[in-house]
């Protein structure tokens, strides 16, 4: 088995993490493992918020799987605070409220993995503004001025569709990505 991070060396370190009953297996080569902060797993309870670190790990793994070379995700930047996808996956934190609209749809499944849900059920803010109630829909292409962004979002959706074994949607998403890429060139 190849290392999930570099995809080059043989994976020699295998570990399983279980958070909120969700099991994740990781396979790394010793080189990549030494770069990861595995000590954190031994010191899980020393910190109040181990989630952020975990989230970074989840994002990074997703990013590595997508291949760093010409990764369209890298072009996504929050127009409000300037946070880009690379920085976002590294720190695992949002830079402003707008980041939730920009990066939210990309990491919905990760949020669900960590929180067990991706929808707020608690107290509602009485003063909440009524505008912007609609979430950015990835299928509404006119919302994206940059083709890179749209491709990235479609790829994220594709990944989710495959994970959910929703192959019909996956096929149509794949075709859309293909046609967009063709247009680009």
């Amino acid at each position: 088995m190849l290392c999930e991070n570099c995809n080059e060396n043989e994976a020699t370190i295998h570990y399983t993490e279980v958070i909120n009953g969700v099991k994740n297996e990781h396979h790394l080569c010793s080189e990549c493992a030494s770069k990861l902060d595995l000590a954190y797993y031994g010191n899980m309870f020393g910190t109040e918020l181990p989630f952020a670190k975990l989230l970074t790990g989840l994002f990074a793994a997703g990013k590595a799987a997508a291949g760093t070379e010409e990764n369209p995700m890298a072009h996504i930047i929050c127009p409000q605070c300037g946070m880009n996808f690379e920085e976002f996956t590294r720190v695992g934190k949002f830079g402003c409220a707008e980041c939730y609209n920009v990066f939210g749809p990309l990491i919905d499944d990760n949020i669900r993995k960590i929180q067990g849900s991706s929808e707020h059920m608690g107290k509602k803010y009485a003063n909440a503004k009524k505008e912007e109630v609609d979430l950015p829909d990835v299928m509404q292409k006119e919302k994206f001025s940059d083709k890179h962004e749209e491709i990235a979002l479609l790829q994220a959706k594709l990944k989710e569709a495959v994970e959910l074994e929703n192959y019909e949607d996956a096929a149509s998403l794949r075709d859309r990505i293909r046609s967009l890429k063709a247009k680009k060139e």
Binding site: I19, N20, G21, N43, M44, F45, G46, T47, E48, L49, P50, F51, A52, L55, Q80, C81, G82, M83, V91, G92, K93, F94, G95, C96, A97, C99, Y100, N101, G104, I107, I111, I114, Q115, G116, S117, S118, E119, H120, M121, G122, K123, Y125, A126, N127, A128, K129, V133, L135
Partner: protein
């Protein structure tokens, strides 16, 4: 005015305090990660002005890091008036209620952190208080709120309710029986996390632990609190059973430990922080188990002494002390504040 930690509350033999923290951000500013110093100052100044306009907060004390020295900041953190994260910020300000049970911190990891404490076990009460404060503040500033994700926070681990509810528990019996590592592991399965309050990892002088919800999204505040309460009730039962077993099987040893701790605390002329915490923990358990023949101060909160012996709280009035002076001052503080037991 008596501060919240100077009393014992419901289930006080095990539960020292209940705390709720709400994380809120203001729409018009970037979150802390992307907030430069100038904007942070503007955010603090503007928000503080708005808070001071709320008449319910008229009797709160205002604090601003510009007017506080390092020792004062650390001492505030030691008695939980501000969080450690806030203490380490360069710029920060806020308001604290007269008995220090409610604080509003500005420029924490999120723009606003509302924190509410009470002695003993009463999470619904603290949540209500925090939520009322939240309503007051939320009507004078514009919170960052998303119809799907709820209250938006810097860290995705707080998003949604933005609520972290936590209990501080005194668990000398479970700790003594070596059962805590197992419990700490177990609570993770219920979306909770547990850590020691003094000390790091599983070594915890004073045997005081904090347990809180990790999950903040997808459940209501009440569900999160009920879930936490269910587990905490089980931990309380186990701790009590452990204590009863201990005095049933080893009554003399238990009495000896309690009286010995009292003796050392009363007569020592130098006390390290770790030793003092260990001794106060023994004393606290002994008092609740009724091991002392005469105890006229049944309601005395030992926890206030655990705060009072912390280094910065000791230096607050005495000025900067060397390590040895600190240990001497600690023993003096203990002698002056120790309840009368026989």
């Amino acid at each position: 005015m008596t501060r919240w930690f100077e009393e014992n509350g419901p289930n006080g033999d095990v539960v020292i305090s209940s705390r709720v923290r709400l994380a809120r951000n203001i729409t018009e500013y970037n979150f802390s990660l992307k907030l430069d110093e100038k904007s942070a100052e503007r955010m603090i100044g503007d928000t503080l002005e708005k808070l001071k306009g709320i008449k319910e907060l008229n009797n709160y004390t205002e604090f601003d890091f510009k007017n506080l020295n390092e020792c004062q900041r650390h001492a505030m953190e030691e008695r939980h008036a501000i969080s450690r994260f806030l203490m380490e910020q360069k710029n920060a300000a806020g308001l604290v209620s007269p008995n220090e049970d409610i604080s509003i911190m500005l420029n924490e990891e999120d723009h606003i952190r509302i924190q509410c404490f009470t002695a003993g076990m009463n999470m619904p009460l603290v949540y209500d208080k925090a939520s009322q404060m939240d309503d007051l503040i939320g009507s004078s500033v514009d919170y960052a709120y998303h119809p799907k994700y709820g209250y938006l926070t810097t860290c995705p681990s707080s998003v949604g309710t933005g609520m972290r509810a936590s209990y501080m528990l005194h668990l000398p019996a479970l700790s003594g029986m070596g059962q805590l590592a197992g419990i700490m592991n177990e609570v993770g399965r219920f979306g909770l996390s547990m850590s020691s309050v003094f000390g790091e990892g599983s070594s915890s002088p004073g045997d005081i632990y904090r347990i809180s919800n990790q999950t903040t999204l997808g459940l209501t505040e009440k569900e999160l609190i009920d879930n936490l309460d269910n587990i905490v009730k089980q931990i309380i039962d186990q701790e009590r059973m452990g204590r009863q077993q201990y005095i049933k099987q080893r009554r003399v040893t238990a009495e000896d430990a309690a009286y010995r701790s009292y003796g050392v605390l009363k007569y020592a002329r130098k006390l390290s922080l770790k030793d003092a915490l260990v001794l106060l923990s023994e004393l606290r358990m002994g008092m609740f188990l009724g091991l002392f023949e005469e105890n006229e101060n049944n309601d005395f909160s030992i926890y206030q002494m655990m705060i009072g012996i912390q280094p910065y709280s000791l230096q607050l009035e005495r000025g900067k002390l060397s390590q040895e002076e600190l240990e001497v001052a600690r023993s003096e503080f203990v002698r002056e504040n120790l309840p009368d037991l026989k």
